[in-house]
Each structure stands twice: as C-alpha cells, then as structure tokens.
Symmetry: C2
C-alpha cells in the first residue's frame, strides 16, 4: 500500500506550492492592471516557438520550472483582447472579478454534465436570468456553451428535429424532402457550418441578399420561402442576425418574427454580440422582436466581458431542446436522491456530456456588475464607434466604407494614384503594421468589394482617446508605407 | 469623455481587489488540501437553493459580497470528484498545479479559435505530444475539445465527410444510400448521439452484440458489414471502444484495425478513459492497435486529472479533418503577417470558433508530472480495482457482477430472501445512502440485468485503504437498510 503524499499528484510541499500560487496570482493581477502600458500584441518570437516545440515530457519537471517557462514563452504573447486598443474580430476584454471565479471553479473542479450538485443550480439560475434578459417564457430551456457557433448548432439541431421528420431515429433524407433554412448573406458562417454538421448541407441554407443597410430583405425572403415550398422543399428555419460581423447591422427581427409566425417556421436569432443590446435602454429597441424568437444564440465572452469561453443558447420550448438531445443509458439514469438526482441535466440539452463549470464566471459577472453597468459599457462602445466614424468622415485621407450602425467601423486609408487593388494592398499592410507596432489591433474584412480596416469595439477598457490614438497611427502607417513604396 | 477608472469594469480599488483575490486563493488551496477531511458529497440544502433563485441582477453588488455568497451557497456543494472516495461515473480528480494554469489562462483571456499568438503554439505542442503518445503520424491533425462526446462528434463528422458523398455541400441522403457505422452495444452513448446530430440517425448505427467479456464480437461485426453492403447500405465507420463505461472492457483494437483495413472502412476509437493506458508500460498492450486508428477520442480530465473540461480528438489524416470543418469568410482570412497570420487555425478543425485556452492546463499537467507519473497513477487505480474485486469476491454478503478488467468494479450486496428486483432496490438505496453519508460516492448501473454498485477509480488521491472503508460502508448500509425493512 502506498503512502498518501507519495502517490498522489498533489504537491509534496504544500507551503512551497502556496508560495508559488500566490506569486503567480500577483503576477496575473499586475498583468491585467498594467495592460495599457504594454503593446496590444506582439508576434511570438522564434526563440519562444522553439521552446514550444519539445518532445513529449516523460519525466516530471518541478512546477516552479514549468511556471517559469510559461512566464517566458507564453505569458507575453496573449491574443491581446484584454488591451483597450484591441479592435480585431469580436473579442471581449474579460474582467478581473472573473479571475476569482475561474480560480474557485478550478478548485471545485465540478463536472457540469449533470447530477445533483451546486454548479448545476448556478447554471440553472444563470439560464433563468438569461430568459429574463431576453423576455423568454418560463418554459424556455437553455444551456451555456463555448460560444455562438455551438449555440447555433444546438438551436438549428433542435429546429431540425422539431420539424417532425424523425431525424433522430432515421437520419436526414435530403433526397426525399429537403429541409431549408434562410439567412441573409451577412449572417455569420457558423450558421452554414451548423447546417453542414447537421447533415442538411450547404444546399440547405438559402442565403438571402442583404439590402444596402446590410439587413435581410424580408420581401425577398418571403419569396424564397414560397418558391422553395412550391419546388417541394420544406422551409424549417429562418435565422435573423442581431449584429452582422462586418457592420454590426441588425435584421428587422419583428418583421422576421411576423413572417415566421405566418409561415409556421422556426425563428432563430444569432445574437452573438448584438443580442446583449437588450441590456441598454437606449439600444434595446434595435433588437425588438428578439423576445419572439424560437431560439437564440449569444455570447457572454463578447460584450459581457466574461472570460473565454462562455456562450448561451435559449430555446423557447425547452421540451423541444430536451427531445432533440436527451439520451440516458443505464449508467446515467436519473434517480430520486443522492448524486444521481436532480431534474433536467445539462447533458440532456446539447451534444456535450463532460462540461466545465463556466456558469460560475457568468454568475460572478452578472452579480458584480449587474445588467445596468454591463449595458452602460455597451452603450459607451457604440458612442466610441460613432466618434470614430465621424473622425474618419471628417478626414480627407480616410474613407468610411459603411455607415456605423452599432459598434463596428469599416474604413480605409486613401492615397492619390492608387486604384482599388492598390488601396486593398495598402490597407492590408497598414493593419499588419499597426498590429506589429503594438499600438492598436484592428482586423481586416471586405465590404462593398473593398478591403477594410475593421474596428470592432467590444471593450470596457477602451476610452475615447484611444480612437484618437488609432486614427493617428493609421495615418502615420499610411504615410510610412507610401514613403516606402513611392507615390 | 469618460474617466478610465470610472468607466471600465476593472476594480475601483485594486488593493482591495488584490486582498480578496489572495484570500480566495488561500481558501481554494485549503479546500483542496483538506478534501479528505470533508464529506465526498452533500446535497444542496434548501436554503442554498433558495439563495440561488434570485431574479436577474440589475444593480451592481460589491465583489466581496458576491464572493461571500459563493462561499456560503456554492463552494460546499461540489460534485465531489476531487475527493479520494469519489467513485461515480468516470470523473478525474483534478490537480493543484492546474490551479495556477487556470489562473494564468484567465488573466491572458486568450481566444483560441485562431490567429497568431502564444496559446495557439501551446495547443499545437500539446497536439504533437498527443500524436507521440498514441503513435500517430506527423501528418495527423488534432484538436482539444470539451470531452470525448465532442471528440466523437468531430471524428465521426470527419469520417462521414471523408466517405466522399459531398455531404458538406449536399447534405445527407439516407434514402439513397445509408451510411452505416458499427460499434458494440457496450459503446458509450455519445457515439449514438454523434450519429444523430450528424443527420445519420440512430438507424445508421449498427450495435453489434458484445461477447461475454463485454468486448465486440469481431466475427459478428464482419457479418453485419457484409450484410449491410449486400442490402445497399454503405458501411463507413467502425467504432472501437477502449474502456467500456460499465466494465472498463477494451475491444480487440488490432482485430478491428485489420478488419477496417480489409473492408476499407474508417476506424475510430473511443478511448475516453481507457486510451490513456498507453502511458503505462504494463497497460499499453491492452490498447494495442490504437496506433492504427483513423481517429481517436480521449479525455485529459479523466485519467490525466486535468481540470474540467479537457478532451482531445486526433485524426490520422489531418487534411481530412480540415476538409470537413474549415470555413474562412472574409473577416477570418488568413494573412501572412500580424495577428491574422499563423497556419491552420483550431477553428478549421471543429465546430467551434471561440474557444478558451484549455491547452494551458494540459500543458502544465504533462510538463509537471510527465507521462511516467501519470501512467503510474493509472496503474495504481487498476491495482486498487483488483484489490476491491478480490475483497468483494471473498465476502459472502457481496457478489461481484463482472470480472474486473481495468479500473471498474461492479458488484452488489446480497440479502437472504430477496429476489433480483428486491436486490436491485436494496443496492440502489445503498448507493444513495453512501453518497448522502458523505463517506463514499460510487454510482449505479445495470450489468447482466442486475442493478450494480459501480465503482470507478480514476482518482490519483485514492489509497488502498479507501477500498476497505468503502466495503465496510456498503456492508453497514446494507445491514441498516435490512433492519429498516425487515428480513
């Protein structure tokens, strides 16, 4: 028989371990507090890459040394989204309060697939809060997931199974009657990915052209549905977009809800970042109709600044979600008492069985800040985007490529004598120059056929003066590039 | 313009925040160090449930108060798997070193969907290590996921798309030619769930009866494949099980690999917990053939004791995984430099776009302990299971229900005068009594038609004497129940 301290993976010396843990915590907190003084991002240097190219560790390494390797080769090279001038893609900035939540979740090490324990009640409470946020009924179901890609997959999977063709038992039969979903061509690609994974195929997603304001053309949508019905297909789902990734545009959700009610089609809303506009009195009218959705995907790690990852799916009729995913073999049977008790388990509502305790960080964030402060931070980002858009419009060397409708600004630097292809190349380089300089990190996209400097502001640390710094940096980078390549 | 400290979600008073964070860390470490002195599990009391039933928080709450509510209503009610006498389902115990990893991951708040930053290189290194562990070739691909349910979904999705019927574009067409997968009836239900999600349907999974040793009958499997082919279906995947959830039984993976090579069928292995037997010289021969799999699912949060959640999928031909899941719209275009650089992004290899930095805790665990110590902890659990099985066999009031082949022991308490139904009821109550007593937490299952006390040992803290405590507790609970209900 083995001696307990010798044979477990616990520290041999708890005091030394405690000391290291506190030192790491100090470093972590200093890292966050001092973020504004550091570059937004810096490339991982060759030396660090080489150190991260070892062969499989067979022998143990003292934890102090592992930590030191982490400090040198990993910690300095974060994505950058905790920095106030990270404007790439749609990343949230995280929040210090969540450090405590994540630490305690790691200590409890709960498995949130199911069973009867505290973490399950925390997730239930968080889901109830989500239902209240979005005006969903008490009978709604919901699940925390890694993000809206998973949420869209679960929502569309529920809609597919609710279409009533016994898909769980028999599988998809596209040759017989194709299930068709509809979304604007500005909709996030995770909707297409979900269709492919679910066996419905890219051919099952009808992309309806967006109007000039980047929202779905509801009249075109109605025609497409009727046309497909006439051709023998079965329209089963319309996806409304609350926050298009290039422009922040929000579909007219009320019109979509109305159309879906008339046509008896499942109404799903991808509200990955835009959905949380419900937290602001000013912005909530923009997503009116979201409360009528049959299902909804949104992320806490974006505009609620919960640490990665934390998304959510809500389904108006919780029973349909359960019917689509619940599966209980003998070893997972529900019992009346003990650990095997409890009501609906999270594993009944999605593809995952083992799940981390991500509900705790969402719970901490919503409790600490309340929806009011979170909503105010969202409003502030939208004001900052307007401020930036005005600065861009006012400057002769810059061109605003889309009207700013929410928190995203797409623009480009102009240069005399360059055609569109030349401008594309120039702006591509400007963005990479900015990122590599560490001053600011926008990303790129293409809008109206042009390569755009894309500035997304989902960042509670961003200040108005950061917009000034960004514009100056863009202009300087443009000048430097032009000096390099000649007029 | 707003003042920076006033308008962000960062603490107004960093010193107070630091103090609270260190206090929480101390509590977390004491919580782990003292786990053996606490009950394995206790039900969430009504008072705590009521406190976890508030309405949506609108106003902010001081973080100190949020933390205090957590301490009172959540922290005492963990799943229990960090305790040395948690024997339910297949849960890992976690490890203190991962506290540091999780803390630092929360500070960096990296989004591991893609782009070019440190976390991406860490995940790449971890995947390279996995390939080395399992003898996969350099061209293999892989991805960290929440667990084997997701890993099975990705693997079967890749196999489905590799079957060459243009599923991504056109969708599944079961009416035309049904894609058939094969697994023993002891295989985990997540394989069935994956088939359903992928649109292949329950009808697409042929469950081959297991033999008396709970492993798949390869001759029956061969017949089933030929029969289905003759009937016009298209066999596309065989799932081998490395560690059945009720018994720990491991299919003959070499025979399956051979069969799949002959029949030109994708060979997937669900090695959720059993796969990591490769880390032990003694146990590795049991999973021989795993290195020939086309894809493999396994979990780090089980027998490698990484904090929840952390699973992995490997695919022998990485290009097939990428072909099944990659999708790059304009705003995610790959660039040559800057943040948008890097090679294959994790989002190219599975359903998720936003992803947490779960690679860091795996990296810490493998570095700190090395595969040798992790392998030894696995061996020790198997020895403990043998020790328990012998104790059960030797006791006249206990019945061993299955031979112990790995780390799982299924047995029941006997009682004179009770038929099988009576014994089922008795043993069900014994397990709940044990859980509620806080002494030990096995779970239940059904094997060979009987309700079993199911003891799974995937726990580095478990000692041999914990087996003695468990058996004593079972016998005492049986006596107490019999005294209650009469002879």
């Amino acid at each position: 028989m083995s001696n307990s301290t010798q044979s477990s993976l616990d520290p041999r010396d708890w005091d030394a371990f405690r000391k290291l843990a506190h030192q790491a915590l100090d470093e972590a907190l200093g890292y966050i507090e001092g973020v504004r003084e550091r570059p937004v991002w810096q490339p991982v240097p060759q030396t660090a890459r080489q150190r991260l190219n070892e062969s499989l560790p067979v022998a143990p390494t003292p934890l102090e040394r592992v930590y030191e390797e982490f400090r040198q080769s990993i910690l300095p090279y974060a994505t950058g989204n905790i920095h106030p001038r990270f404007f790439g893609w749609v990343h949230g900035a995280g929040q210090p309060g969540n450090m405590i939540a994540e630490m305690m979740a790691a200590a409890m090490n709960s498995n949130c697939g199911g069973r009867d324990h505290g973490a399950i009640y925390v997730e239930k409470e968080v889901i109830e809060w989500c239902k209240q946020m979005f005006g969903f009924p008490p009978a709604a179901g919901g699940l925390l997931v890694s993000g809206s890609s998973m949420a869209n997959l679960i929502a569309l999977g529920t809609a597919r199974d609710a279409a009533g063709t016994a898909v769980r038992a028999r599988g998809v039969d596209n040759g017989k009657e194709r299930l068709m979903a509809y979304a604007s061509d500005e909709t996030h690609q995770s909707v297409l990915k979900a269709m492919e994974i679910l066996g419905l195929g890219a051919a099952g997603l009808r992309k309806v052209p967006a109007r000039t304001d980047f929202t779905i053309d509801v009249a075109e949508l109605r025609q497409a549905i009727r046309h497909d019905r006439a051709a023998g297909a079965r329209p089963f789902c319309v996806v409304g977009c609350a926050g298009a990734v290039n422009t922040g545009a929000i579909d007219n959700l009320e019109d979509l809800a109305q159309l879906c009610a008339e046509e008896k089609i499942w109404f799903h809303v991808d509200g990955a970042f835009g959905g949380l506009c419900v937290l602001s009195q000013d912005l909530a009218p923009r997503v009116k109709g979201i409360e009528r959705a049959d299902s909804l995907a949104f992320d806490f790690h974006k505009w609620a600044h919960v640490q990665y990852d934390a998304g959510c799916v809500l389904v108006r009729d919780g029973e349909l979600q359960r019917a689509a995913f619940s599966m209980r073999p003998d070893y997972l049977q529900h019992l009346n008492r003990g650990l095997g008790g409890g009501d609906i388990w999270p594993c009944d509502l999605g593809p995952e069985l083992s799940r981390s305790f991500r509900a705790l960080k969402v719970w901490f964030a919503l409790k600490e800040h309340g929806t009011r402060r979170l909503g105010q931070a969202i409003e502030r980002n939208c004001e900052q985007a307007q401020y930036l858009a005005k600065k861009v419009e006012a400057h002769p060397a810059l061109e605003l490529l889309t009207p700013c409708s929410l928190n995203i600004v797409c623009f480009r630097a102009l240069a005399p004598g360059l055609d569109d292809a030349g401008l594309d190349k120039l702006n591509q380089e400007i963005v990479a120059d900015l990122q590599e300089s560490g001053v600011a990190a926008p990303s790129t996209s293409r809008v109206r056929g042009c390569l755009a400097i894309r500035v997304n502001i989902t960042n509670h640390r961003t200040q108005f003066e950061d917009m000034d710094i960004l514009v100056d940096a863009v202009l300087k980078a443009a000048q430097a590039r032009r000096a390099l390549t000649g007029p």
